[in-house]
């Protein structure tokens, strides 16, 4: 099923619409008006505004047209490149944010004792705000926090570090927190995928003498490919646009710009520096990046339907 075919036709829409058909269409249009107003005014129209303002030095009150040089200035701004590099480095956490949930889902699928309880536990952090997760993570990585006491417990008391305060380590701590935050959702997704797997396939392979790894590699993994693709896209988009809460409470973008990503740069540039034009420009760049990822997602959904 493709998106364009979602709205079906009623049988009697011929070349000459009857009174009933015309009435139906009129009611149809009326029912869509609130949605169109809401989404049009608050999502689609601001995109156009953002494009326009990206060519100005708008500060929220006065607007001066700058033109294309606003964009070339932005591309010469090292802070923006630092933010993009931070985003790129955060993408290194995506494989972990997929592999751990995949392992968790496959283990849950074995239905060992207590698997329902484990499932609930793994999903539970999905319900809590990333603000809360960020606050807990701040304690975990703090100088007198859990990580350092665990390290000294196992004999590494020489590695006593304040990860969130170190320019070369803060992003790693943020990435680890991001991985933790994605585990629930992705496990949920993979478990749904495994539930649709025909158990007789695995059974047949086992009777044929295939070991656990071979069954995973040749039956489970291919079956999950679409779920993996969806989880990949969702995780990448989250890495670009859902980290605001974590960054806000854990590092506020610092130290320096070490944990400032594009989405946080939009906020900082707009609301700390009142450079609304430049902030809108960064927002457009972020939009383009996520749109490219999103189009890949649509392509995948389309593939499934054909």
């Amino acid at each position: 099923m493709s998106l364009t075919s979602l709205a079906p036709r009623l049988s009697n829409s011929g070349p000459r619409p009857s009174l009933l058909t015309r009435r139906r269409r009129r009611v149809g249009m009326v029912l869509v008006v609130p949605a169109l107003v809401l989404v049009g005014l608050l999502i689609l129209y601001p995109i156009c505004q953002a494009v326009y303002y990206s060519f100005t030095n708008w500060d929220g009150l006065t607007t001066n047209w700058v033109g294309p040089s606003a964009w070339s200035q932005a591309f010469h701004n090292p802070t923006m490149w630092q933010a993009l590099r931070n985003n790129a480095e955060l993408l290194l956490s995506v494989p972990f944010a997929l592999a751990i949930p995949l392992a968790a889902a496959v283990m849950l699928h074995q239905r060992v004792a207590g698997w329902r309880l484990f499932r609930s536990i793994y999903f539970l952090p999905t319900a809590i705000s990333w603000v809360v997760i960020g606050l807990v993570a701040e304690h975990f990585f703090a100088y007198n926090g859990t990580m350092n006491s665990l390290l000294s417990d196992i004999g590494f008391s020489n590695i006593h570090t304040n990860m969130l305060g170190q320019e070369n380590q803060a992003l790693i701590a943020l990435g680890i927190t991001f991985i933790f935050s994605m585990i629930g959702t992705n496990t949920m997704l993979f478990l749904t995928g495994l539930a649709t797997l025909d158990p007789s396939l695995e059974e047949a392979a086992r009777i044929d003498g295939a070991g656990g790894w071979r069954i995973f590699r040749h039956i489970t993994l291919p079956h999950l490919s679409r779920f993996l693709q969806l989880a990949f896209v969702m995780t990448v988009i989250s890495a670009f646009s859902a980290l605001f809460s974590l960054i806000f409470v854990m590092t506020n973008g610092g130290p320096g710009y070490a944990t400032t990503t594009m989405e946080f740069l939009v906020y900082q540039t707009g609301f700390n520096q009142s450079q609304f034009g430049t902030a809108a420009l960064y927002g457009i760049i972020l939009f383009v990046i996520t749109a490219v990822v999103g189009i890949v997602q649509l392509r995948l959904i389309g593939d499934r339907d054909s």
Binding site: A104, V131, R226
Partner: protein, 277 residues
Amino acid sequence: MSTLTVSAPKTKRLGRAAIFAAMVALAIVMLYPFAIMVIISFKTNAQYLIGHGVSTQTWQEINANIPVWQELWNSTVVCTLSIFIILVVGIMAGFSFAKLQFRGGNVVFLAIVSAMMVPLQAILIPEFVNIAKTGLTNNYLGAVVVYAALGTPFSIFLFTTYFRRIPDELVEAGIVDGLGYFGVLWRLALPMALPAIATVTVLQFIQIWDDLLVGLLFLQNNNERTITVGLAALAAGHTTSIPLLMAGSLVSAAPAMLVYLVFQRFLVRGLTMGIDR
């Protein structure tokens, strides 16, 4: 029992024990935030700094330091109003796209659904200026309309797929019987969409309850901010005690966790929507 399980019971039992151990290990990691919130919230700030001691003082004084009840109420109001708009707008439009096809409906549907892919940060700046100009940031409605707009595309997508299952003949029969289109929507379509209503409600509740960015910018009055925003604002201040933050975190997390535990299956359905059909 197949011969295989009889011939190799020992390795199988070992394998299951290993899986169990790994699952316990992951469970400890996933429960860590909850454990740490409970443990630290039962300390005074001094006890937290020296690393031992238990006290209920933080909990006794939480009301004096965080306007917990006011913020919980604010979160409830914002969630309720936003979800109400998301449901009403989504049900109306979804029914229209699915059953009342009008000219150009497909294009409008595509435009609205593709709005799902716009990250808030991409439109944040003009959105904030627009809403601030209307004065809505000085009351709940500023955040409410933004949440409603952000939640509506998914809601429409879900309701459209749901209403497509209703046979055209049923709709036509309702019209012939004089119910009118609103009658058909209210009496025939809506009862069939109850699971979708539950899914949208649970998903949006958790999303809005947990959100920071919209509340932070679009609720400019401190006495109207949600519990999540209040918590983040408290954390941003420098003199805050960690036990107080952890107690506040628990209070903010409790309602969303309760909703999650009660309505887990609707949440799972919502998150896997679009692939699990």
